[in-house]
Symmetry: C3
């Protein structure tokens, strides 16, 4: 990044108060700013920092009125937070823009095709009969099996493994070492105590605008498809089992797991280290707290759940509080028992 | 897959009712069938679907008698579910059969040997002094260290990392990005608060017929071996620490972890997100519910356990139910206290 | 390993009792020893094994006096355990020492530099403008992005992915398939229910003497740095989110996760499968039990915590014990209610 404040203000449709010729070469939090950095102030909690920040420029809301003198140049915009993320995006595009073409050695199977404007890194492997769209970036050391389809503008980070027959939409990002389409965990017990592998013949379908973190695993369906709907965001180290369906725009945090054939609704927000059992249904707009365990279907939409087994958040918190007070409750119970004992003795006397 | 119903019936030793010339090119669940698909009906719960299925053929048990007209061709067999998995296996063999020979570039170290009929993908790395059996498939981008032994018919999927001195049996499958034989987590505290690494010199031994999912980690022993016995099935994202032993035919679901030196018996079934502490012993045939935490040895065989800390499943469920009723119990306690108070006041009057 | 007992005793400054010419070629636990092995005895619990061990030599504390005859040659040292780990380290150095130079094909980007004495394995990828120190080992199939710095004597195991701008100190070890610097999980909700990616422009800084297990993920900061301080030890399958800071010499066991912007103190010991929520602070010397959930800051140093939500270990154990006794407590409550009912009836009579 190397822009003048004037250029940035123009990009953000902002108004400058201060020196517009200063050169900006990095972004920083307002409390950690250094000369050459640009920061933003949206939350008034952080206002004290603007009077002492080391940043050369700060993006502020148009209604911001300083209470003291400010060293930094200010850029007034409609919404400081939005403007700042736009700026970061532009910066990120500039930074990421550098990867084009094909590095060697790399492997590209028979009858596979790749659109315009993309990147294939060294030691990447693309199998046979794959259809890869425009502007797709395939980083080094990735493995893409046979008959895989990848939509335009999707990025596959280093070490990602994509098994045969996987279909991935447009504008997706899959971070490093994630595995898409490994066999579902299906074994049938035999009479001698050993297990027979149940063949897993389905695939994984990932729709558009999906983001998947690092070291996550999504298993292929036994038959049919494991489906990740449009706009889903998955964090790192998540397990999605065979035949699961994750609804549109649902967000799942790190280290959570969904067991086989469960169906998660749209717009759900699932925190970290949550476990969801197999063959259940979670309604749209469900919110699930960290480390919860879901063992039953949730049919009503919009609930907030927590605990293992999970239930209504308010009830869960109340029970948790009482669990903590169990020693006290036991004392009270003992006290009553003693008194009872005492009055019985008296009555008998 | 492209077979006539007649060919399939012959393969399964089945009897056809309906058109035997229809061509089958895929398998599907009975409720999701399309023309050209074959399905099966074993569980009577799914019987309603057979009257409306879009599948061209359905495999049914020999005692099945339709209550209404069925469009699909039926194949009567001894056991519909078994017959169907046999069919899927045949199909899978056909599909997977395509990988043979050596793709370049790949690395094969000095004094290593590989049997007949195998596959080594591009960018795969095999170190020195390895002994690799017949029909072993080593997918692209795998790393196999020095002095590793791999038995016949074992498949190593893309991105698997196998450290020096690991021994893997016959007929094993290890899915993508799993790591076998990384250092155990052992550090000795020093006087200044820092930690000294305890050298991990042992290895991992995996016996025959073991299946290991994606992104799982199995650490090498400090000394001796971490051992995965014959027929064990491990899911994705599992942690097996140093010097652990997992008994024959034990099954562990995703995201569970076993700490150092613990010994799990044979034929255990361990659900997802379970944690097992170090240096304990779990008896044969133990069943452990999802998200449980085992902190003590289980010496009696055949128990079903749940909870964290884990205990008898029935007791656990009863306590969980009562935990949920704690607010009500507290009300009852308050009520007794009020009444007691009241009678004491009366007595004093 | 191939040394005479005499050579080993010299290395450890020990005194020999028995045959000093025996050749040692491996190390083993005292209870698993074989001819040619060396073992140690430090914990008196294991003393019975020394009278029957198959090992050819045993390292013992200088104050050890045998109660019966011992077959093995003894090496008396100041501290048997320390001496043994020194021996193992020497052995490990010898074993690992074999990797030097550059294997081909490998990729090394423009303007990157690497010091003396190092190793770059086949299919390893180093991006542009990287600065790599002396004696750094980069194993096969690793990916190192652009502008990465790696200090002297650090080892990067197979399949590790290191994103752009990461800084790694000296004497670090990062095990297989770990991902450093993937995007933090940050999305801003839009009016239509979809999410907008918040650009993650920061990096990861790992200080000296850090060890990181296999398949762990450490996300880059949104701005600034995710920081792993000197001497930290992380196990396998751990999640460290964006902008987290882990204090000096803190140890975290497998499958634990720390959410965004949390700050963990120095010298903490965090067991396996622990979850720590975002934006909290954990004081120095905190000990956290397995499967705990931390939802609030811990300001006092030196506490031992357990449970989800976590609290004082002793209190937690007491509540857990009472939770188990809930069925009994309910019986007592019922009993009191019955008696109360009965006396009320009597009073009314």
């Amino acid at each position: 990044m190397k822009f003048t404040v004037s250029e940035i203000a123009k990009m953000l449709d902002g108004t400058i108060v201060g020196d517009e010729t200063i050169i900006i070469n990095s972004a920083a939090k307002i409390e950690e700013g250094q000369p050459g950095c640009i920061s933003f102030l949206a939350n008034t909690k952080y206002e004290p920092y603007i009077y002492s920040t080391g940043s050369s420029a700060v993006i502020v809301n148009k209604d911001f009125s300083p209470k003291r003198e400010i060293q930094a140049t200010l850029i007034y915009v409609e919404n400081a937070y939005t403007a700042f993320t736009i700026l970061l995006e532009e910066y990120q595009k500039l930074m990421a823009g550098g990867k084009f073409g094909v590095e060697q050695p790399s492997f590209f199977g028979d009858n596979s095709s790749m659109g315009q404007g993309g990147y294939r890194g060294a030691f990447s492997y693309v199998g046979k009969n794959c259809i890869i769209g425009n502007n797709v970036k395939i980083y080094p050391s990735t493995y893409i099996g046979d008959k895989v389809e990848i939509g335009d503008n999707t990025t596959i980070h280093p070490g990602v493994r994509i098994y045969d027959n996987t279909i991935i939409g447009k504008n997706c990002t899959i971070f490093a070492n994630t595995v898409i389409g490994g066999d579902g965990f299906g074994f049938a017990p035999l009479a001698d105590g050993s297990y027979k592998t149940i063949p897993q013949l389905g695939n994984v379908v990932i729709e558009d605008d999906v983001s998947i973190g690092s070291n996550t695993t999504i298993d292929c369906a036994t038959m049919g498809s494991t489906i990740i709907r449009k706009g889903v965001k998955l964090d790192n180290l998540i397990q999605i089992a065979h035949n699961v369906e994750i609804g549109k725009n649902t967000v799942i945090a790190a280290q959570s797991g969904v067991s086989g054939s469960s169906q998660i609704g749209e717009q759900c927000v699932i925190a970290g280290q949550v476990g969801i059992t197999g063959h259940i249904f979670i309604a749209n707009n469900t919110k699930i707290g960290a480390q919860s365990g879901l063992g039953k279907s949730i049919k009503k939409e919009g609930l907030s759940l927590s605990g293992s087994p999970a239930r209504d958040l308010t009830e869960h918190l109340r029970s948790m509080a009482l669990t903590r007070r169990l020693p006290e409750m036991e004392e009270r119970l003992k006290d009553l028992e003693r008194k009872r004992e005492h009055s019985e003795v008296q009555e008998r006397d």
